[in-house]
Assembly symmetry: C2
Homo-oligomer: 201 residues x 2
């Protein structure tokens, strides 16, 4: 019987943002323990010879429209950032630092970072902005600043990404329940049905 | 107020097959008139520099799993065809011939062709098999055989594909309600919500 829902997300991913607003409810509904995994899509896209959605001809325009509509239909605030996609190493490291050292504050930080970028238009590619959001989320700014520059956190993020790839993760958001993979915010209903069928609780 | 739901599909598309089983219910529920558009993805993939899902590293294995699971969770019979994807020119031409000359029989033919390939493992890349299915769907075998080799139907299919691309269609299934695009079987719920919001009926 499955017990954990592994939630993989990249901070520059619009569907990852949408998922971040509902993942706790999904875990609660399925009775699974939620584990947050910040990752970077860059290395995965490299492995697939892929590109960010919005840079693909035809699909790109549709994607921008679908981000906004998916948010609107789910009642989630969304403003397409002018600079997109962005580098999210600092944000991912901050999230990992919080998960490792202040696990009770990590979910709030992750959700706040996403909201800062996708609802409030704040440039979370900048370490200073990440630290502002960390402070607003009740974390110690200086401690997080040291954390995101520390070797253990740098190594931990690389490990998260390589372990995710070994488990078959290739996008964001991505959910694993043991070895069952679900890619996309639009698979949340499948997760619920699948857990109900397989007896997740 | 929108009145038509344009449904674009490629016969080698698993999600197109799943959509074909529910599109009439979707049209009924939204009060829109359904128009069936057989298309070929080949020319679209060429324009995007894209490839069939199952040929993309990492994504390919997931896709095969998701086809089956999506069908299972929706209660639709599905067996992954051994030969996949396939050329579907004959099937698409037969569907167009039926739509143009026997519109009342076209939906049954389209659904039967999809089921033949994705549930019964019949090789609908072969014109003979397409004609068998046409006959089983109450169409005249010889007439359809002539139809799929006729210039008007060949031209009509090319026109469907180029018009679809002009309207921004790049995948299967693809729905257009006026100029609002919905890509994927997993967007059916969005179609319902969107029509309810915009006042489709």
């Amino acid at each position: 019987m499955a017990s954990t829902i592994d939630f993989y997300f990249e901070f520059s991913s619009p569907y990852g943002y949408l998922a971040s607003t509902q993942i706790e409810a999904l875990a609660a509904e399925t009775g699974l323990t939620l584990k947050w995994h910040p990752i970077l899509l860059g290395p995965m896209f490299k492995a697939m010879g892929s590109a960010p959605l919005t840079q693909i001809p035809l699909k790109g325009d549709y994607a921008l429209r679908d981000f906004k509509r998916s948010a609107m239909l789910a009642g989630i605030p969304y403003t397409q950032p002018g600079t997109f996609p962005i580098a999210t190493v600092a944000a991912a490291r901050a999230a990992l630092h919080a998960r490792e050292h202040h696990p009770e504050r990590a979910p709030a930080l992750i959700k706040s970072l996403y909201r800062a970028y996708f609802a409030d238009g704040r440039p979370i590619d900048q370490a200073d902005v990440v630290l502002d959001v960390a402070q607003e989320s009740g974390l110690d700014r200086d401690e997080v600043a040291q954390g995101i520059e520390s070797d253990p956190i740098k190594i931990a993020l690389k490990k998260e990404v390589s372990e995710a790839m070994e488990r078959g993760v290739f996008g964001s958001p991505f959910i694993l329940i043991e070895d069952e993979p679900f890619w996309g915010f639009d698979r949340f209903e499948h997760v619920k049905k699948w857990v109900a069928l397989k007896g997740g609780q």
